[in-house]
C-alpha cells in the first residue's frame, strides 16, 4: 500500500510537469492549428535563460527568473509567432510540422554550440526535505511542484472562462471567422496564446530543471511525453491536458514497477494509440467540430 501510494505521488509530481508542457501545446493547437514539434525544446530552453541571467549577467535568482521570463516571452512567444508561424499559416499543418522540427534542431544545437554540451546544475526553488506520509516518502519539492502546476492551470482555466480577454481567446480558438465578425482582435488573441505558452514553458523549465538538470538534449523526451499527455487527455481542452499529464506520469511509474521496466515507455504509447482509435477527442476532451 505504502509502495503504491509512493509510486502514485511520484508519478503525479512528474506528471504535473508534463501537464504544463502539454497545456501550452494544446493552447497553440486551438489558437492556430500549430502542432509545435519544438515544444520539448521550449521547455528545455528557459532554464538556460535563467542560467545566462544568473551566471553570465550576474543577477540573483529572482532577477534571473524575471530576465528569463522576458526573454522567453519575447523569443518563444512573439518571435516564434511572427517569424515562424505567421508566414507558414497559409500553407497548412504539414510545413509547420517540418518547420517546428527544424526549429527544435536549431534550438538544441544552438544551446550545445553557444552555451555548453554539458548538463548544468540548476538551483532548486523548493526544499528537498522529505516527509513520510502513509508509509511513502514524499519530498516537499514533489508537493510544491504538484501544487504549483495545479494552481497555474486552474488560474489559466479561470482566466479563459471568466475574463473577457479569456473568452475572446476561446472564441478565437473555436471559430476564427465568427470571432472576427464579433469584433474580437483575433490576431492579438492568438499572440496572447503564444505568450501564455511561452510562460508555461518557462514555468515547466524552472520546475523540471532541478531534477532533470539543464541540458541541450532534454527536449526530446519531454516533447514526446507532452504530445502523448495532450492527446490522451484531450487535445482541445486545458483540463484534458492536465489530466493527461498526470495520468502519463502515473502510468509510466506503475508500469515500470509492476509490468516491465524495459518496456516502461511502451505503455504510455499504447495508451496513446488506443485513445486515438477509441476516443480521438481524448479522455476529457470534447468532440471537435472542426473539419480540418
Amino acid at each position: 500500500m505504502g509502495e503504491f501510494f509512493q509510486l502514485l505521488v511520484s508519478g503525479l509530481a512528474t506528471g504535473s510537469i508534463y501537464a504544463l508542457a502539454a497545456v501550452g501545446f494544446t493552447l497553440l493547437w486551438q489558437a492556430s492549428q500549430t502542432i509545435n514539434f519544438a515544444q520539448g525544446e521550449f521547455v528545455m530552453l528557459p532554464a538556460f535563460f535563467v542560467l545566462i541571467g544568473t551566471q553570465v549577467l550576474g543577477l540573483n535568482l529572482i532577477l534571473g527568473l524575471l530576465f528569463a521570463l522576458v526573454v522567453s516571452l519575447l523569443l518563444l512567444g512573439l518571435v516564434f509567432k511572427r517569424l515562424i508561424i505567421d508566414p507558414m499559416l497559409p500553407h497548412g499543418v504539414l510545413p509547420i510540422v517540418i518547420s517546428t522540427i527544424a526549429l527544435g534542431i536549431l534550438l538544441r544545437d544552438s544551446v550545445k554550440e553557444f552555451y555548453s554540451a554539458e548538463a548544468q546544475p540548476f538551483p532548486a526553488i523548493f526544499s528537498e526535505r522529505t516527509l513520510s506520509v502513509f508509509g511513502a516518502v514524499i519530498s516537499l519539492q514533489d508537493i510544491a511542484i504538484l501544487i504549483t502546476s495545479l494552481t497555474t492551470i486552474t488560474v489559466l482555466q479561470l482566466f479563459l472562462t471568466r475574463t473577457r480577454t479569456g473568452r475572446c481567446m476561446q472564441a478565437t480558438a473555436q471559430n476564427r471567422g465568427v470571432a472576427e465578425i464579433l469584433g474580437v482582435n483575433v490576431n492579438r488573441m492568438i499572440l496572447y496564446t503564444f505568450l501564455i505558452n511561452a510562460g508555461l514553458a518557462l514555468m515547466a523549465s524552472v520546475l523540471i530543471s532541478p531534477i532533470y538538470l539543464a541540458k541541450f538534449s532534454n527536449g526530446e523526451s519531454i516533447g514526446l511525453i507532452a504530445f502523448i499527455a495532450a492527446i490522451v487527455g484531450g487535445f482541445n481542452q486545458v483540463r484534458g491536458a492536465l489530466a493527461g499529464g498526470l495520468l502519463i506520469g502515473v502510468v509510466d511509474n506503475m508500469s515500470a514497477a509492476y509490468i516491465s521496466a524495459e518496456y516502461r515507455t511502451a505503455f504510455p504509447l499504447m495508451l496513446l494509440i488506443i485513445i486515438i482509435l477509441v476516443r480521438p477527442q481524448g479522455l476529457f476532451g470534447t468532440a471537435e467540430e472542426r473539419s480540418v
Partner: protein
C-alpha cells in the same frame, strides 16, 4: 535539364573535396560524436584531442611534421560513423581516433581493419577487442578489465552476497551490465534484482522501490552522469542503507555536484578521472578547464592520451607507417617519464586492451577519496 547540371556540380564538388594534401603535414582523422545524443561525451573527447595536438604542434609536431587534425561528426549514428571513417580513410589519415559509442565503433572498425589503419577508440564494450582486430586500440579500460575488479570489490571489499543491478539501457549500460553480472555470478554473488532504466529518465521511484524490496546487500549502478545523480537522490530520499557501488561515472565530480549530499558514501572503481591523485592528470584537468570552461570527463582524458600515444609510437618508430604503428603498439608500455602526455604509465596487450593503475574510491563530504590503489596487473 538543369537538374543534371546540379547533379554534375554536386559530383564535381564532392570529388574536389577529396584529395589536396599538404606534403609536410600528417593527417589524423578524429571521428567522433559532435551532434546528437552523444555530443556531450564526443565534445569532451574532441576538445582534449585538439588541445593535445595543439600542444604537440606548438612543440614542433611529430618527427617535425605538423599534425593536420580533421574532425568528422558521426551524428551519434552508426551508418554515419561508417561514412565518416570511410572519408577519413579516403583522405589519407595516418591514424584514426574515435568514436566513443560502441555501436558506432563496431561497424566502422571493419573499415580501418580492411584499410590496415590503426584506430584508437573511446569505446568500452568488451566486443571491440575480442573480434581479433589487430588495428583497434583503447586508451581506457574496457568493461572486461574494469568489471572483474569491481566484482571482486563487491564480494571482498563490500562483502555483499547479493547485489541489485541498475543500468541504463543503451550500448554503454548494457555492456557494463552484462559483464558485471557474469563476473558476479562467477564469484558466487547473487543478483537480487536486475533493473533497466531509460536514457533521460526523470523518475526513479519505481526503480528504488524494486531495490528496496529486493533485499540486496549492495547496489551496483551503471548509468550516465545525470541519471546517476537522480538515482542517488532517490535512494537517499527512500532511506536505503545499502552501499551504492559503481564504475567511473558514478563517482564523477559532476555527479557529486549534482547529487549533493546524496552522493556521500557512493563507492567504486575509477579508471580515468580528473580527480585521480596523479599530478599529471590534475595538471591536465586544470589546463582543460581553463581552456574550455568545464571539468574534463574521462572521455576527455581518453582522447588526450590517444593523441600522445600517436606521437610517442610514431617517434619511437621514427617514421610514419600505419601498419608498423599497429604492430608496435601491441605489447608496448609507455611511461610518463618518456612521454609526459601519457599521464599515467600504460601497457597495451596483444588485443589492444590496456593495463594501468586504477583506484577504489569513496565519496566523503562531497569529494572523491581514494581508499585503495589497484596496481597494474602486469607488475
Amino acid at each position: 535539364m538543369r537538374l543534371s547540371k546540379i547533379l554534375m556540380a554536386v559530383g564535381l564538388s564532392t570529388a574536389m573535396m577529396i584529395g589536396s594534401a599538404q606534403a609536410d603535414s600528417v593527417k589524423i582523422g578524429n571521428v567522433v560524436e559532435l551532434t546528437g545524443g552523444g555530443a556531450t561525451v564526443g565534445i569532451n573527447w574532441k576538445n582534449a584531442v585538439e588541445m593535445a595536438f595543439g600542444e604537440i604542434n606548438a612543440a614542433g609536431g611529430i618527427l617535425s611534421r605538423k599534425v593536420e587534425l580533421t574532425n568528422y561528426d558521426t551524428q551519434t549514428n552508426a551508418q554515419n560513423s561508417r561514412a565518416m571513417v570511410q572519408k577519413a580513410l579516403d583522405n589519407g589519415s595516418y591514424v584514426i581516433l574515435g568514436p566513443i559509442y560502441s555501436s558506432s565503433t563496431k561497424v566502422n572498425m571493419i573499415l580501418t581493419r580492411r584499410a590496415e589503419i590503426p584506430q584508437i577508440v573511446g569505446s568500452e564494450a568488451p566486443f571491440i577487442t575480442t573480434a581479433g582486430n589487430p588495428y583497434i586500440f583503447r586508451t581506457s579500460f574496457g568493461a572486461a578489465q574494469s568489471m572483474p575488479k569491481l566484482a571482486a570489490y563487491l564480494k571482498d571489499g563490500v562483502k555483499a552476497s547479493s547485489v541489485g543491478v541498475v543500468w541504463v539501457n543503451d550500448d554503454f549500460g548494457k555492456g557494463g551490465r552484462d559483464t558485471v553480472i557474469s563476473e558476479l555470478k562467477k564469484r558466487g554473488v547473487k543478483i537480487a534484482v536486475d533493473i533497466s532504466t531509460e536514457v533521460g529518465q526523470a523518475d526513479f521511484a519505481s526503480d528504488v522501490i524494486k531495490l528496496k524490496n529486493s533485499g540486496a546487500d549492495a547496489i551496483f549502478a551503471y548509468l550516465h552522469e545525470e541519471e546517476s545523480a537522480r538515482l542517488l537522490k532517490e535512494i537517499k530520499k527512500h532511506g536505503l542503507k545499502q552501499p551504492v557501488v559503481g564504475e567511473t561515472t558514478l563517482m564523477n565530480q559532476k555527479v557529486i555536484d549534482l547529487a549533493g549530499d546524496a552522493a556521500n558514501g557512493a563507492k567504486g572503481h575509477v579508471g580515468l578521472s580528473a580527480d585521480a591523485p596523479v599530478p599529471a592528470v590534475k595538471e591536465f584537468a586544470k589546463k582543460f578547464e581553463a581552456k574550455y570552461g568545464n571539468k574534463p570527463d574521462h572521455n576527455a582524458i581518453k582522447g588526450y592520451i590517444a593523441a600522445y600515444t600517436v606521437k610517442y609510437v610514431t617517434e619511437k618508430l621514427g617514421k610514419f607507417d600505419s601498419k608498423a604503428f599497429a604492430k608496435a603498439l601491441h605489447g608496448m608500455t609507455i611511461s610518463p617519464k618518456n612521454e609526459p602526455g601519457i599521464l599515467m604509465e600504460v601497457t597495451w596487450d596483444d588485443k589492444g586492451d590496456i593495463d594501468r593503475q586504477s583506484f577504489l574510491v569513496e565519496v566523503v563530504n562531497g569529494k572523491q577519496k581514494i581508499t585503495q590503489i589497484l596496481p597494474k596487473l602486469g607488475k
